[in-house]
Assembly symmetry: D2
């Protein structure tokens, strides 16, 4: 398929490459990762080869969320938003960007997001799970706290999606759960384990009820949530949990019809995708790669292009859903909606 | 369908009913729960109505795992094993039992399991996630620690399955992750979130490689694991994690073909079950209810009997897999293997 | 779910009730069928009960296609179109109609269809497989013959769908294939066996290439076609069949993305529907009952409402696809597009 | 996957190559087909490459069923059975054979099948739809006629499966249904359309009730039947069809649990196979290619090996089901049952 859009694709400021290398040294080992994160212009050849028309860029995790000093975190957001906006401006038909924001102060986050969207043209925001905070960096801020309503209000008004991305667990959780099995703390398991609590915290705290326009995106085939929707809703018994603020007549499943979307980043499983379609419908799923934590664009693209899905589902998941949610048909991106299956080279016998 | 077997079904010693009521007071609210747990003989009428031939009983969570004093924990195991063995003896064609064990001391656990299986006729053992330990009860013991090889060796020799059941998170994890969204800590999300780490710790520490006969069962449609098998195996990169002891040429998926089984307890979702069958095949899945935390046997049984599955899959999941794994065809249970679809009243147009 | 639309629902002229009774005497046996076919006004209570907002009516099979005399066939079309238009006019928020046409003469068919759509407000046309013709009634006319291009041109210009409905096989085919197993000739097997050849004849003769606006609908979960799309396209090898007029760069699967739709009429199978969604996507499937050949609206509606499908798929299949294809949002039907899941009572835990 | 078994694989007597070429001239065009059919020894290199351990050979369609002279048909059966038995004897670890029989006379068919199984070692019989008969060859014999009970009794006693293979429609059906769309008469559509009537005729005539040991196999993902099981059983209403001899308390679905099996020959569709597993379970499905009508073994094998199925399902469909049904563990074939997934090279991340 030509014309694909991918939206969990990381970049990094060159000056941070060393930090990233240090952070992931023990668990990634890939010497080239820092380099790949910093190189943006060089991505186009691989996009052409893989049939990817548009790559939505985001500052790599943990980004501002890993900076426990509020001033430093905000400065990182401003610097990286300015930088990536220039990169997008140079090639708006191939790149778009999610803003980065410090989440220490909900109002400051709202303001920087507003600047990034209105002045810089960002198409949404990428937030990496909880905000590290406190003098020792071990305080963790979650956005289901009522104080963050100021942020969610701005998100709704700006009408851009929030992509929630995982990060490593806090020191305390690591010590308790992962120290003796630390290979489980990151992308293999802990990432989704942690982030799913945050996502469900946001949903059950009533954010979507108070701000029905908020659109949340999360990757890795839904961070463990789609397969367990039934049990989740079955067990969130309102009589048992009168203090849960989520609307009494809503289920988490309902929010998947109105406020939540998933991507396939780093999870190229045919069966899981088929399962996610069955749970959520193809209208709430978007293709993504997770570059460069996935090694290049070809494995994911080859998998996607050969999926045993119907042509309308390939079109929706590979392109149209993201185009519509991120409004990529607008200037300066000007992507064309409504291209035919033939124009996108979807076809053949199917799988 | 007649002749069903269910295997995550809780009971409790009458003297503990008050504790249970206290523990779950805030989140269950069901005044009748303690009574239902203590009543065993009274279950048969409901089993008959629901087409359940055999109910495998287990001491309710957290059971011995919640008792941080080693002596007290062991005494609870002995008392409850003796008690439930008498109940089974009185009606072996309708009841079987999983043993309870204190997991403070792997060798003591092995010995009590041996007694429960050989002398009392238990068909396996139910363990409720980590063992609480330490003077303040806040130390948590996990069974992927090499010290527990003594326990796993006994399990293999006795040739009975270990059912791993969830429990509430430790105080520390609760404070960090669930305090502000405590409706997520238990069956809705936290149970599986926690237990999945323990299960995957056991698998990745090489228990199944050192003790290939060990059979692990876990409920709730696989505690979040089946849907994410691909990403899990994809990310457990051996070059990155040389210290991970699991066999280098194995995947977690492989162990689902040789050492792991799931049940449907408390997760009556057609889509999730279809997804689990696609991932694991019907040969690794067993029907279960989770009584009395599910309200009666009828909701789960009605769901199961009307599932849009093939007749051989209904037979395997509803009866044959459990019958074979738990050896329920042996005395004193004497269940009949190989009953026909007609004898079990499986049939009709299908779904 | 409230607000459902159903579109393979038969009616009959009272004067033909006797004929119908005679035709189906041997194979239906239902004395009440003729009465049910003739009663239109009495259907509304059952629609209310079953959550059906709109019923699209069509003259029962074989209708005009069973009349081998051209004049008589045309007269039947005119009479029945006039009659049903009056019925619809009396209650346009609950009924719409497919026209009936004699297919002896493509131009006459085009003209009557035009009158039925423009003057009478029909939303499409129902045709019952081949047209019986010839002095003994044993000549069979198929619409993949180039002579019918005049008809297809009118269909495209009028921009209304053609619903192809099965009928009993010709005498000759009956004698050869069904005489000794005549229970297979009708709805159990022969209906779809026959009609599928006609549908595939139309597609492979290039009708959709010459008239790309033509929209074909067929019921009974696709008359055997969706499950065998792969083999069909795999075997329609263009080198072997140079005389096949269908576009060389097209597959039958492609036409399911642009020109063909199926309904669930008389085929309430969860698995088959899930399979059809996997092949075609939910965007090409519409709920229908096949009243009164299915006994009432409740079996099909109850099945549909409890399906383990995502909410967006239920909405599309139960209502939106038909509303859009048949333009039921226009006067006099004035159905509301875009109703929410809550307004339509789609929700709950899902299946 | 290594160790696969394939069982709809054609061969031909060299002296018949010219006839075959003539028969398929207009629709196949492959000059090399006759040569490929006649070459048996040369197949092993391709089997090795494709991971196929065993190929079950059958005389190509229509074989004896296309010979309307009873003596000539029987002679062809004897000659071809003798010939292929020698070929198998030379390499029994790689080849097995289905017998060919003339079906003019049920008793003669039974006798020749008995000789082929007992004296020649055939593992079953391949029959190509109806038997052409009569002076002009246009009479068609179907085996649901009570006269064939003598044949079915022998099949049951010999305890070998009957593989029903399609052939071109009779002249009369061709003239009526396919003359103007003759690309639909063969493997693309007509083959399954015709054969499905014969299969369902056998089932509904009660053959499986009178001879419960009969095992019927048919290819091409079930000749249109699995996807439409629900409607088929729903419409075979016993009140309407008192003359249908099939047991009143049985459904066609039931026979898929006891007497019918399908293969994947010539139908390498992931979605259709997933649908068939959902309907029938993996226990009733066997991998096959349809060589040489499929061009080599690699397309089908590559597809199969990469399927997004669970490992137990791959093992069952690729090897174990056929091994058991055809008793290929017996001499002289001596295939090993119970090989592990590792030995068969099933594994990796799965799809």
């Amino acid at each position: 398929m030509r014309g694909k859009i991918i939206l969990e694709e990381a970049w990094n400021l060159s000056r941070l490459a060393a930090d990233e290398a240090k952070l992931y040294a023990s668990i990634h080992g890939a010497a080239l990762l820092g380099k790949a994160l910093a190189d943006i212009d060089g991505r186009i050849a691989a996009m052409d080869e893989a049939g990817v028309e548009m790559q939505v860029l985001s500052l790599t995790a943990p980004g501002c969320q890993g900076v426990s000093d509020p001033v430093e975190a905000h400065n990182m957001a401003v610097e990286s938003n300015n930088y990536i906006a220039e990169k997008v401006k140079a090639n708006p038909s191939r790149f778009a960007a999610f803003a980065a924001v410090s989440m220490h102060d909900p109002k400051q986050a709202a303001k920087e997001l507003s600047r990034a969207v209105i002045e810089l043209g960002c198409v949404g925001v990428m937030i990496n799970d909880f905000q590290s905070s406190g003098p020792d960096g071990n305080t963790t801020l979650f956005y289901d706290n009522p104080a963050y309503d100021a942020f969610w209000a701005a998100v709704e008004e700006l009408d851009v999606p929030v992509y929630l991305h995982p990060r490593l667990p806090s020191k305390l959780v690591f010590d308790e759960l992962y120290r003796d099995r630390k290979w489980l703390q990151a992308s293999a398991w802990g990432f989704a384990n942690q982030l799913s609590i945050h996502i469900l915290g946001i949903a059950t705290s009533g954010v979507f009820d108070r701000f029905p326009g908020v659109q949340l995106v999360f990757g890795h085939m839904g961070e463990h949530i789609p397969f367990d929707l039934w049990r989740l809703d079955h067990k969130l018994d309102r009589d048992r949990f009168p203090e849960m603020r989520m609307a009494k007549n809503k289920t988490i499943r309902d929010y998947f019809g109105s406020n939540m979307h998933i991507t396939t980043s780093g999870h190229f499983s045919t069966r899981s995708l088929q399962g996610a379609i069955a749970e959520l419908s193809s209208s709430r799923i978007m293709f993504s790669i997770d570059y460069p934590y996935e090694d290049g664009l070809m494995e994911g693209s080859t998998w996607f292009d050969a999926l045993p899905l119907s042509q309308p589902d390939l079109l929706a998941i590979g392109r149209e859903n993201a185009l519509r949610l991120l409004k990529l048909d607008r200037a300066p991106h000007n992507m064309k909606p409504g291209l035919t299956l033939k124009e996108l080279e979807i076809g053949g016998l199917g799988g």
